[in-house]
Structure formats: structure tokens, C-alpha cells
Symmetry: C2
Subunit: 458 residues, 2 copies
């Protein structure tokens, strides 16, 4: 009987996260005055213990026992060999995926939601605000807050709020409160509604609302939490790749190709960063972040300094960006509708260490359905981007007759995305791509912005 | 670091199912002439290899390698210690649950869907019909059929079809076709609609439709599949309890109380039967099937001979039954809305080896929300019945100051039941209970039916 799932025991879980800042060179985030921001400038937004993690250059950071205790609700997650998918494709490639859909909210997001809630709790915070795209992050933070008795208020991108009415109920089940964004609760939301009362919303606008709601609480007991992009978020997610490395070692395998879908970059980074160091040190592997063709941040947009949110509340971050005013097309993978990309991922793409890919909507659903009919589990539309790329690579391996090892992160299940599958089956979905003209118009915003330096980490 | 999840390796999975027919005495099913049905009379409905399992009295039946291969997509499932729930209740009890929500459709149902699809395939069948209540079974059979390239047609109880629109899409994702029942496709469906055009439907009617659709296919390539009640279904589900016994042995525990929710009886039986033999042999444990107060088959209805379906297509089965014409109130736990109960479970309740319990709707949702806020995972409303009983027992243990070991089956997740949670939070749900008058009226149907004998297994 061949092993299909490689499972670690709880006592084999990683005890430290991997911090890639120890191994790469980064442009600093800039404040309104054009100078690097200091940690204390972020203090109204985040608790200081998380800010310290954000700027730390320690390579290994201890996972607190309290966080490990909650991780054990669903971690370690299985590494699965997709034998039926391999058979269906007739490929000589061996395809593996890490199943992050086994967590309570059904995605990788609680890997960082739990430590973020923990550090806020330890710092004396009572209430956390955040935004959510597809709803995965808002659900994960609501879950994490319920574990620590914290209040949670979530601004959810309106198009996703309407496409996925049950996400709100899921958050409510964990005690969270979910508000469609743009809302009239904040200045940023009111301005967005004034500009376009029918706006589908965007992650950029929702971030502005959540930041504003946090910093405007004069009691000082509210902080904001971000589910992607920032360094400490990537750090927490490395538990995925660190577990995977142990699992591959158990079966004497090592991936030739590593794939993750990328919206803000966190599930990709968490999966890939522990392997990235090996590549920097000379290992011949390919690492692919995969984004939607409708929001081609890494594949088409430049490496620039830009705000993380639409209203410009955040520092300027060095990243690939479509511009903070850009509102992506309402594709059914809300978690990937973000104008920017994690600075760490952006830096590594800019250096050529990572190679970005993009996939259009219909290819993703086709891949998602093939995966469900072979491997059983129904993927989230975001996850289907990674699957689509893995299938491309498996077909390529077949053409080349090479038994490559393909590894991708199965970032979450699609049980709350069945409305999108319904639309796919009924033929209502179409491919959506940014035109050259749209891209040129979006780039106007950067005319007077500072430019990040071209740093080389190796 | 305390172990929270007890996980088996794939090579530790049980290789045989446990057949309780080897250890208990049963009244035979009766045909239209009042005589026991012979296996060949069932041949138009089921493939002969499954009929042989249905009537087998072998104690251990080998699990085919092909079935084990597919089980490995999600099995072995974890046994989890509910430490946070224990803390919230302040109980000295140790509470464990088996998480069957990790399967692709999110419940225990594929434990039997996969072998049923396998045996049909081996027998040369091309197309399977079935019914579904909450949608869990129809999803599971669609998933199983996709693994073997079989067609699948599912008649779904109308009230659930309307409460859970995405169940249809889930089945479609695996290639299954889902039809609301009663439909106009069958004589049984048309008759039910004639009697009451606004009927919420029932499992009894949907079973009639699916059986009729199978036996009326003159090509001989269609068979019917039942997701509960029958002996071979209970047999396949024993993989749950057999794994759990191994997991308890690993941590030197043995449950004092075993709990499962019960609609047709399959997740309960699968969990409890491997422990039931120990009880028959003198072990001092309590075993509780838990049903909704709105459908009190075991707790209030008599042990009788009754049809498994509304139209009377099935043989007369010896079981606790509310009468095959009974249409249960439309509670949000569609998987427990069945007029009858597995004959094996009914026999053991009748003998006093199992002790049936019932829980009303609001207590279940309260238990479900408490579970989600402590243990993370959001349970299906059916599963919440088992949780509610486990909480009652944990509170009892606290009163008595006893460190009892409570074990229940977490039969499935509630990601597709969030509409029901939404109604609970909004105050739209209420308790529903059968009145004595309704019970007396329902019992009229049995006036001229044969009575099962009072057999004793020990």
C-alpha cells in the first residue's frame, strides 16, 4: 500500500518560523516625508511586539507555546501525493500538495491570524479591525479572536460580501462582526462611495477603512491586523513550507517546482520561502507565484514604491503594484484581487529568484473541477490558480518525458465558493484581462513617487 | 506539549470492517407476501455483491484494496481531545471526538459511498440513483461515483434543496445530477405532489423516487444506493469506530460514554458498533444514539415492521418507526429527518443495550456555536445533536465530580449549513416537538402490520 498522505506527528511540528529578512536585501518602507518609517510610527496601527517582528532580521523566530497549542487544532497539515490527478494527466511528474484546507476556516490564513491575535492579546489589546477579500482572512481572524476572547470587526470587499453571503455568518459563528466595504463608517469608505456609489470595492479601500477604524479609537485598545503583504505575515506562514520540507525528507523527495497562488503573497511565501534559501544557495529549482490575469501585479506591473491601501494611510512599500487606486475586475477569486504584492515576494521576483506566472479565470475553474473529480477535495478559486499552473507543469513534464517533482500549496477549500462554481457551470463566467491601455492609465499614479533601488541579495 | 490529535498512519488503517450481524439476533426483512425476502428479490435494486454483504453473518469482512486507496484521500481521520470545550465547561470529563468532517464532501458518508460505488462498478453497473436529505449523502455518492466513472442521479428532499442551494453545485462539481424531490420524474413523486403540492418532501418519498428510477431502467445498468439504514451501510461505517479503538489504545484510554447523532443510524452505528460488542460482553459503558425531538424515532416510536420508503417499495424492515407516511417537521438537520431507523440500531435499542436520547433544535445550535468558539471547527446541525449530548454528559460528570471519558462522532462540518446558523442567530428558529396526538395519528398505519419478535442477543 503506497503512502498517499505524508503526516507529521504534533511533536514534529516546527518550533520556529523562518524569517527571510535575514537572507535578502530590502528597500525600507517610507513615511509621508519620504524617509524610512521608524517602528514607533506604526505603533497606533499594530502592537509593538508585532512591529518588532516586522522589522526583525533574526533568521529563526520562536513560535510561542500558546500559538502551537492552537495550531494543533489542525496542524501539522498533510502533504498529499495527487496520484489520481497524475493518472488523469498521464504525466510522469509526481505532484504533491500541502492541504491547508483542513483548518477551521478552511484556508492557510489562521497560520498568521492565531499569532497576530496572540501578540495583540499579550500587548493588552481588546479589539482588532481588519479587511477581507474573499472572506478567508476575516473568517480566520474571527476564529483566532474567539480563541483569545478578542473582539473582531471585519470590512469585507462588497463584491465578495454579495457573492458569498455565508462568509458573514461564518465570522458571526466565531463572534466576529462583518461589514460590507466601502461602508459609511469611515472617511475612506464614504469617499469611495462618493466617487462611485456602485463600486465593487477593493482590498485597498477595505484596508483603508480597517486602519482608520483602528487608529481612530481613542481608547488605545484597538489595533489593525493585516492578513498578507507584511513581513511578519510571511514569517508566520512559513510553518507551511517548514512542515513540507520535513515531510519531503521523510519520503526522500525534494521538489523541482514550487507553486503557490499569489494575491498579497502570504500563502505563496509561506510555502516557498523555506525552499527559496536553497535556491539562493544554488539548488536548481523553479519557484512560481501565480496570479490572475485580471490582476497581473507581478507579471505586468513595475517594481515601485506604493501605498498598501487606497486612501494612502499606509507607508510607501517597495513592491510590484498596479497602483493603489486600481480596482481589479470582479473575478471570483477575491483573495487575489489586490493591487500590490508583499515587498519580500516583489523583491525576489525583481531579482529573478522567483518567476511569476498568471492564469485566466476559465482555466482556473477547469483545473479546479478536474482536481475535484480526481483528488476529491473542491478547491477555492484562489487555490485553483496554483492547481492550473501545476497542471501546466505536469503537461510540460509529459512532453519532455521528465519525472519532475511538482509541489503546490492547496491554500483552501471551496465549500463557501460553490456560488462561483455554479456560475462557471452555467457559462456566466468569462476570462478577464487587463488591457495595455488600462495598464498605462493605472501607471500614471507613480509619476512623482520615489523609486526603490535595484538591490541584489546574492 | 500535550497531544491534542491522535493520528494513525495510513498503514495502521483497519483492513476489515466489523459486521455486527455475527453477534446479534435479528428479525428478517419481510416481502409483500409476509415471508422473509430472499436475496434474489433485491437483485433489481442492488448489485448482488452488495446484497451478499447485506445478509452476511461473517464477523470480519475484508476492505478491498481499491476502497482503501480512496479512503486514503482523507482517512485515517483524527481522534481529537476537545480540551478547549472541556475548559469552557469546567468539567473533569475528558471529551474526545472523531473528526469525520475531513472527507471531501465533509462528512462520514463517503465511508460507505466509496465501497458502494466500487461494488456497483465491479458488478458492471453504469449508473446509480439515490436520495439525499441534508445533501451530505448525495454529495458523498457523487464524489464516490466520480472516482469510478459512474453516473449519479440524486433526489434531494425539497426543503433541504431550497435551504442549501449550493449542495446541488457540489454534486455537479463531482459530475452528479441533483433533482428536488418530490419530482414529476417518478410515479411516487407525482403522487406525493398530488397529495400536497407544497410538501417539504421527506427522505421516505425521495427513497421511493430513487428506487423507482433504478428498477424502471430496463437496460439493467442502473442500481439504487442507500446511504443509511441497511446492514451493509452500517458495516462500511465501522471503519470509524475501528480506527477510534486503535487511537484510544495508543493513549491508554477507553470511553465510558459513546455518542453519535442518529437519523438512519449509520454514523452512530459506525462509531458505536465496534464498542458495542465489548458492552455485550460485560464492559460497563453507555452508548447513546441521539435524535431530534422533532423526529423521535427511537425515543418515542415503537419497534415495528415498516417500509423504509413512503411508497412502500422496500421490504418491511424490523425497526423503530414513526410510520412511512410520516413527514417530519422541516428542522435544519435534514440528515436526521427520517421516519425509521437502521434495524440493527433498532434491535439493540429494543434490547436495552443502547439508550436513545433526543435533543431539541435550539439546544443543538447553542452547542454548535459553543463548539465552534472553543474547538474551532463549525459542526453540521446533525453533528450538533451529538455535541449537545456530549455537553450534557460533561456537565453531569462535573456535578458528580467524575473524570469520565466521553467520546462522540463529529460526523460532519457545517460549511454548507451556514444559512441555518444565520436563521439561528436571527432568532428565526424554534424548538419543534411531536405532540402525543401527532404520535397517535402516525401510529394508525401499523394496525394491520406484522410485529417483529422480541429477540435477545445476549
Amino acid at each position: 500500500m503506497d503512502v498517499r498522505k505524508v503526516v507529521l506527528r504534533e511533536d514534529e511540528m516546527p518550533r520556529e518560523w523562518y524569517n527571510i529578512l535575514a537572507d535578502i536585501k530590502m528597500n525600507p518602507p517610507l513615511g509621508p516625508d519620504g524617509n524610512p518609517v521608524s517602528p514607533d510610527m506604526l505603533a497606533p496601527v499594530f502592537p509593538m511586539n508585532l512591529i518588532e517582528q516586522e522589522v526583525s532580521s533574526e533568521r529563526w523566530i520562536k513560535i510561542p507555546e500558546e500559538v502551537l497549542g492552537i495550531y494543533k487544532i489542525w496542524r501539522p497539515s498533510p502533504l498529499v501525493r495527487a496520484v489520481n490527478l497524475e493518472k488523469a494527466l498521464g504525466t510522469p511528474a509526481r505532484i504533491y500538495y500541502k492541504n491547508e484546507g483542513v483548518s477551521p476556516p478552511g484556508s492557510h490564513k489562521p497560520n498568521t491570524a492565531v499569532p497576530q491575535a496572540y501578540y495583540n492579546k499579550v500587548f493588552g489589546i481588546k479589539r482588532i479591525t481588519t479587511e477581507t477579500g474573499a472572506g478567508q482572512w476575516g473568517s480566520a481572524l474571527s476564529f483566532a479572536c474567539s480563541q483569545f476572547g478578542l473582539e473582531c470587526r471585519v470590512y469585507m470587499v462588497r463584491v465578495s460580501f454579495e457573492q458569498k453571503p455565508y462568509r458573514k455568518t461564518m465570522m458571526q459563528t466565531w463572534g466576529g462582526v462583518c461589514v460590507p466595504s466601502p461602508s459609511t463608517e469611515t472617511k475612506a469608505g464614504r469617499e469611495a462611495l462618493e466617487k462611485d456609489p456602485n463600486t465593487p470595492g477593493s482590498l485597498g479601500i477595505a484596508i483603508s477603512e480597517a486602519v482608520e477604524a483602528a487608529v481612530s479609537d481613542t481608547s488605545g485598545q484597538t489595533r489593525y491586523s493585516l492578513g498578507s503583504v507584511l513581513n511578519h505575515v510571511m514569517l508566520h506562514q512559513t510553518v507551511i513550507g517548514l512542515e513540507a520540507k520535513k515531510q519531503f525528507a521523510l519520503i526522500n523527495e525534494y521538489p523541482d517546482i514550487i507553486i503557490g497562488c499569489a494575491g498579497g503573497g502570504s500563502n505563496f511565501a509561506g510555502t516557498a520561502f523555506p525552499f527559496t534559501l536553497d535556491k539562493v544557495n544554488g539548488k536548481a529549482i523553479e519557484i512560481y507565484p501565480v496570479e490572475p490575469a485580471a490582476c497581473p501585479t507581478l507579471t505586468k506591473a513595475p517594481f515601485v514604491y506604493d501605498h498598501g491601501d487606497t486612501a494612502g494611510y499606509t507607508p510607501l512599500l517597495p513592491m510590484h503594484s498596479l497602483g493603489h487606486a486600481f480596482v481589479p475586475a470582479p473575478i471570483h477569486a477575491g483573495g487575489l484581487r489586490y493591487h500590490g504584492m508583499a515587498p519580500t515576494v516583489s523583491q525576489l521576483v525583481n531579482e529573478g529568484i522567483l518567476t511569476a506566472k498568471s492564469v485566466n479565470q476559465l482555466e482556473c475553474y477547469e483545473a479546479g473541477v478536474l482536481f475535484a473529480r480526481t483528488e476529491g477535495h473542491i478547491p477555492a478559486p484562489e487555490t485553483a490558480h496554483a492547481i492550473a499552473q501545476a497542471i501546466r507543469e505536469a503537461k510540460q513534464a509529459k512532453e519532455e518525458g521528465k519525472a519532475k517533482v511538482i509541489f503546490f500549496n492547496w491554500s483552501g477549500h471551496g465549500c463557501l465558493d460553490l456560488g462561483a462554481y455554479e456560475r462557471y457551470f452555467s457559462g456566466a463566467l468569462q476570462n478577464l484581462e487587463m488591457s495595455g491601455e488600462e495598464m498605462r492609465a493605472a501607471m500614471e499614479i507613480f509619476k512623482n513617487y520615489p523609486k526603490p533601488a535595484n538591490l541584489k541579495s546574492r
